[in-house]
Symmetry: C3
Subunit: 441 residues, 3 copies
């Protein structure tokens, strides 16, 4: 069976976090984790569908990882607005009739067991196509499946409004089609005005008597749509790690490492630093004196400076901090924070934190949520970022200010300085300091 | 001998610190310490005089402590403006003629020896009534006693102006009256325009030949009138503690506990935290990684977060801090401080710090004095409280601001944000960071 | 051979750092190091030239050090605008004909080998006078030497413009004159409009057939002209220290001392403090809990408070810090910094930092450079100093502000407070905090 990894999405709702395929988890880009999972599930022929914006990077990256067990090939989706339908049509010439194909979104992170389930379901001759499905407790803005008692899908409803869901069964984009040529044929004949061409085509197939099986899955599933989903994926990867400390790391005897922590080659951990697991420290990163890292993923070549706390956060490569508190935050590559700068991660009323996504406030469902940055940010000293704020790539943020709203990319932000400078009439008695010194001793 | 604990005061000058009777010291409310002291001094019949604002709370509280050795009863003082006179008159029906009564203010904290002195003085038949008295070095705004050579009081002068004191002997409200019925009779006939009805009545008794003995006391005495008196009472309680660490506390091997520190059940102390005695850590409080507590009292369910310093401060229950400096401060229950927020506790000129008490600046006599808060305060990140400032209960204080004056209760305070956002024309050379990394290694 | 130490400079470009002669390095003033170096080089007759502004201090200071091996005498230079020429002329009555004299600037710090070189060169009869000279790679604003093949000087060009240098050989003010009377005679006859009277006189001597030898030196040389030169001198002194910890210091077992660190008498080092060498900690200084000192020189009676970092900085006597970051900074005597106050030491664009020197921006050549202060500064809490800023002596800097430019001496600086205070309509659910507590445990 062929596997198709759909990786052409533009991560627009993830902005300013860059292309999610390349986000590093445990030292590897997300897309590499996805490919490895397909290989582990037994797939040996994998097509990766990218777009003009990332296809070359996907090729270069996968080449560097040199996957030996599988043949990788690539396809380009030209019309990125055409979603999953467009991606599948772009494979027209690569798909052989009657050869089953599994389509997997690089946006959906699942437990590996999902593939075992799917392979088993596909091998059952009663099922025409198989769609992985999960029961949800809370509304999720995705496709919902209406099924009959045998679990066959009667209808797919793409993004119903909250409260209008036809069921609690949500479509996860791990779909197996035994007759992909037929699917492409129907897709090509289907036209819609909304972003649901694929779903409408599936509906047509159902009406034409095609048997679409909903394969129920109760393991871990996390779509990566919004920036805060990075936390969920990070937690998924961290949950299963075991303590592993490279012998090529230099760790002070005065450092403390509690619980499951991975420390990669070339890491240096200075005196009195504390790392609480589960946490991941990438290659050549420095955790400096008295720093605290907890429940976080820190990638390569970072410097976590003196007395900095990194809590429940995701840091890319080459992030430099210095006496900061970075909590519940996502910091992309090549960012720096001046001493005393803090990410606020809790509203004064302790309510849920909303994030501005393409012009709309979206509730993250989290009451602890800090900062989201793009790449190449520089922040000055003693600056305060309000919860849920996003800073666009290549922006510089001055010292001693409050950032209460999103900052566009390529911005230079400073506060207004308005000092009152008067002659100093006050005098300090030397005695007072001597008194204080005595009390200290 | 009956003991009457006068606890009806409204703690107005203590605002926003709530009713001082309920302030917790070493895990017990102040009024409970006062009752225990009376019991330890041998009193078995104790009447507590409260007001409408606190009588039910006093009843509930004392019930929960279940004092077995003494009979506790309660009286309500209706007219709270009528001070001590009103309190005593409210006991009219509870007091038996010729049964001596000791009146003790719940506002005056004394060393237990004071009661031994009083009991001895009362048992001397030469003395009609006995009044505890202390010689002061500095002016104190209280009642002054003019005595003859035998130590009998000739006159009581309530709150003379500074410099007009008739002696250096100040009245402490621990008074024993052998004929309380007679006192009440005189009190009822006395009318004054000022808050000195009790003192005027005593003067009348003196003129009528009643023998009032001034019982000199040179032990610890601290009235609790102004917020900063909390520090003195805290120090009094801390001075006598011995090191005591609950076996139900979880303490990292990397934590340091120096000197006399009490650590109660359920406390957790994380790596590299340091506690310098004398200090008290109440039940279920967390002292997190790299925090420092010194010469402080921290009550129950607090979280002293990463790299926070608490110095010479009193914290109520459920106070949460995170990378703060809280110095010489009084923080009431249920308050939170965002990361980087600091209490200024020293003027630039290092002079004495005054506090606004009911509209008037009152010199605290301390040159190190931080913040005073009511209950349920939330403060954001990187905010600066100026020395001696008071924050009323239920107020929220935004991020990155300076609070130079008192904030009324139920306020929401933010600064004005005025950012200049320009296109970023600056470029960072990657080489510069590589150079810096080399220097670190 | 007589040695003359030229110490009359007014350190104007060093402002607000006081007279550089008195800057303390390794517990001794710079001028004392210079005198000791002359004594170690074998000089037994040393004349110190001061000005009205510092001659008495120089006399008192050197007296207190009680140099036994050499005879010290003093001369006053009246006209301080007349530079080196003026200094030498002021010695007219102290110099004997044909007795060679070495003139040494107290502003030029060199490796002791320079004197061996000079003594050897002077003893060579072929050389009339000898001038120490160093090849430079980068432009230096000093005197350049044009020499012939034998190393004899043909011309001295004082401060040519950058790019107009006649050679790469710079004049270090360690000059030996075998016939100083003759030099004074020529000097007295020389008049110039610029600050180059000495150099013009030397040129005249050359033209008259006098043999001036350029003595090439490739050891350490650092003139002390600009404040940032203090760092270079500090590094020079620190480079050669060996670990030395006074038995009269009190050091917590939980403190960490890495590398070459000198700790003087009476120093106290508290729990979890870390000192990374090379560093110097002067007498009676306290390094408090969790503080970090690295690559720094801290003089006497300082208090480096909780969780403060001092990096690559020079601190005078009696400097008090508290939860600060002081990086790449020069802090003169008797300064205090409130909690959370930070010295910015890196521009957002990571470019070189310029300093305002007598009205002109001068590039320090450093991309990490913090604060320069005079004496008796008080800074409040949470204040941010921008890189390369200078604070004049006796100034007070308020809390929570940004200092983006130099502050004159005797200033009192505060920000404008503009708070919005509204009724608080927000409510905090108690449940939220219980949830957070659970997550912590």
């Amino acid at each position: 069976m062929k596997a198709v990894l759909l990786a052409a999405g533009r991560s627009q709702r993830m902005q300013p976090v860059p292309d999610k395929n390349f986000l590093m988890f445990l030292g590897k880009p997300l897309v590499v984790h996805q490919i490895e999972q397909l290989i582990n599930a037994g797939f040996r022929d994998i097509i990766i569908v990218g777009g003009a914006h990332n296809l070359n990077s996907l090729k270069a990256l996968t080449k560097s990882f040199n996957f030996k067990k599988a043949k990788l090939s690539f396809a380009e989706q030209k019309n990125l607005d055409d979603g999953m339908a467009g991606a599948i049509i772009s494979l027209k010439n690569k798909i052989i009739d009657h050869e089953p194909v599994i389509f997997v979104s690089s946006n959906d992170v699942v437990d590996g067991k999902a593939f075992d389930l799917m392979k088993k379901a596909c091998s059952d001759k009663k099922n025409g196509s198989c769609i992985l499905a999960k029961r949800v407790i809370k509304y999720f803005p995705g496709g919902y499946l209406k099924t009959n008692k045998q679990g066959f899908i009667q209808k797919i409803i793409e993004k119903p409004a909250e409260g209008k869901e036809p069921s609690d069964l949500v479509n996860i984009v791990i779909h197996c089609h035994k007759n992909p040529k037929k699917l492409i044929e129907v897709l090509e004949k289907t036209k819609t005005t909304k972003d649901d061409r694929y779903e409408v085509a599936l509906d047509k197939l159902i009406k034409a008597g095609h048997k679409l099986k909903a394969v129920e899955f109760d393991g871990f599933w996390q779509p990566v749509k919004y920036p805060w989903h990075v936390f969920k994926v990070m937690q998924f990867f961290l949950k299963n790690i075991k303590k592993k400390i490279s012998i090529k790391a230099e760790i002070s005897k005065r450092a403390v490492i509690n619980g499951n922590v991975i420390i990669e080659n070339g890491v240096k951990i200075y005196d009195n630093a504390v790392i609480n697991g589960p946490s991941y420290i990438g290659q050549n990163t420095i955790i400096a004196t008295s720093a605290l890292v907890r429940d976080s993923m820190i990638n390569e070549n970072c410097v976590i400076g003196f007395a900095t706390e990194i809590a429940r956060s995701y840091l890319g490569n080459n992030v430099w901090t210095h006496t900061n508190y970075i909590g519940d935050s996502i910091i992309s590559d090549n960012c720096s924070f001046g001493s005393g700068t803090v990410t606020g991660n809790l509203r004064l009323d302790e309510g849920d934190i909303s994030v501005n996504i393409r012009g709309q406030k979206v509730n993250s469902g989290m009451n602890k949520f800090g900062l989201i940055t793009g790449e190449n940010i520089r922040a000055g000293i003693n600056t305060s970022f309000m919860p849920g704020v996003k800073i666009g790539s290549n922006s510089m943020i001055g010292a001693g200010i409050i950032i209460p709203y999103d900052i566009p990319e390529n911005s230079f932000v400073i506060g207004k300085v308005d000092l009152e400078i008067k002659p100093n009439k006050a005098k300090v008695s030397n005695g007072s300091r001597e008194e204080m010194m005595k009390k200290l001793k």
